[in-house]
């Protein structure tokens, strides 16, 4: 192409200023539809295929294997007596024995059941309370600091009080779980509501939503990521509080849970039972996170386009 044909040379004799696209730029309805379709496909990302990322599974498994090998290595060097620091093989053996006796299943089932029931009741109580506190300013100002404070207070502190009030019964365990979980869930929901872009409320009002509709159809779904964070923390606090309660309050009509197993190991001075119980408590926590919360959270964030660029 010769470059001497500059467009400037062909400018019309007319000297009026002419701006681009000041006037209609398309030539009709069909043309417009086509133009828009073209632009839409240019500006949209092509769909990426979702593959199984093996590093997500292999890396944590490898990390676990390395830790167990280091543990076995340390024990094999024989710095400490074997009954004080048992090795992974001793602990696995003890887990096998507990399984054979049926104690392991009983303990895991009892604790898990109590943890889940306590957590679900906490959710049912905390959700409406959190929503009302987040929406009604005077109530929030009045009770907000108290709720935040309760979250800092370790729920173990309630165990002595609960024993005096309810005796050594399941009520004691549930009370302690509630005091741990409810403030976390309320706080999570409130912070979720605080992070909602103010525009969403304006849109809701313009669309004619009533106060209740605004709360249930716009505020609650918009606050879901923060709320889910609160639920995760609420579950963690339930599980921890439950273990603390089970370790301290043993006997009475309280069944045999993982905390009770841990305490039994201490009474019998059997380190392998203690280690087994600790690892089982940890394992249940990890499994709940992996099987329940992680998939829900991932789905939630992906649907809102919030996962891109994260290191998950």
């Amino acid at each position: 192409m010769p470059s001497n044909q500059l467009p400037v040379a062909e400018a019309p004799a007319e000297t009026r200023k002419v701006h681009a696209a000041l006037t209609r730029s398309s030539t009709g309805k069909e043309d417009l539809r086509e133009l828009e379709a073209g632009l839409d496909s240019l500006q949209s990302d092509s769909i990426r295929k979702v593959r199984i990322d093996w590093s997500r599974i292999l890396l944590p498994v490898a990390a676990l294997a390395v830790l167990i090998i280091l543990w076995q290595l340390y024990v094999s060097l024989g710095f400490k007596r074997r009954d004080v620091v048992p090795g992974p093989l001793d602990v696995i053996g003890q887990v096998g024995i507990l399984w054979g006796e049926g104690k392991l299943q009983e303990a895991v089932w009892t604790s898990l059941q109590r943890g889940v029931v306590g957590f679900l009741i906490s959710v049912v109580i905390a959700t409406p309370v959190g929503l009302v506190l987040a929406q009604v300013a005077p109530l929030r100002r009045a009770f907000g600091p108290l709720i935040s404070g309760l979250q800092v207070l370790p729920s173990v502190a309630w165990v002595p009080a609960a024993i005096l009030w309810f005796g050594i019964t399941d009520a004691t365990v549930y009370f302690v779980v509630f005091m741990g979980a409810i403030p976390s869930i309320i706080n999570g929901l409130i912070s979720g509501v605080d992070q909602i872009p103010p525009q969403y409320r304006s849109v809701g009002k313009v669309l004619g939503a009533s106060r209740l509709q605004l709360a249930l159809q716009i505020i609650l779904p918009a606050a879901l990521p923060g709320y889910l964070g609160g639920l995760k923390q609420g579950w963690a606090f339930s599980w921890r509080s439950l273990m603390a309660a089970e370790i301290i309050a043993v006997g009475g009509t309280i069944g045999f849970g993982l905390g009770s197993m841990l305490d039994q190991g201490r009474v019998l001075s059997d380190m392998t039972i203690v280690m087994s119980a600790i690892l089982l408590i940890l394992a249940v926590g990890i499994l709940i996170e992996l099987l329940v919360f992680a998939p829900v959270e991932k789905r939630l964030l992906r649907r809102r386009g919030l996962l891109a660029g994260s290191t998950r």
Partner: protein, 241 residues
Amino acid sequence: MPVVLEHLGKRFGAGAPVLDDVNATIGQGEFVALLGASGCGKSTLLNIMAGLEAPTSGALEVPSDGAAFMFQDAALFPWLTARENIELALKLRGVGKADRRVRAGELLDLVHLGGAGDKRPHELSGGMRQRVSLARSLAQDRQLLLMDEPFAALDAITRDLLHDELERIWKETGRTIVFVTHNVREAVRLGQRVLLLSSRPGRVVREWHVSEEHRTDAGLAGQLTGEITTRLREEIRRHAK
């Protein structure tokens, strides 16, 4: 007359008035562009018309069923698909479930997004999001449609197309549109009438009629744009001291 503004004023707290003695009438089915520099109270005026804020003096007459509103950013709800966003507007208006589905489909077709109904807002381009937002404000089925710089954040190619699109939809649906912008060319491109709002306090200082010829003759449109720009700059220069 769907909209009448009489001696309308607005001040926040004890500060200087944002709007002072605003007078305007907007006829049924008219497309009015409200033009002004930043900080002239355009958005406040629109919020008052939408009922989101109350005026501190004067009176206004708006349709009793309120107004539809379109925001600068699409403000779509990210947890809903494009179709569900439109359906939510219909639901809050009290439309039955079966009707909602049909009506949302029609509205998506109207903005040429028939195939993208199941996409979520983050999967759509900025222009597509604004079209969903337009469909949602049309779902409100109000005679009066208020638009607050809806195309300000879009790239130039998309904006030019959406101008054509909005003009087409305005003609098809017969809505009364008040379109706020700080872009003179946009005001001339879209409005049948351009109202210029002064800054601090905001007041309608001048208005121009834009004829059909201005939309087909780029030279004529350019001339009018120049004239309005000159007047707008005078207004801005007043604040230099």
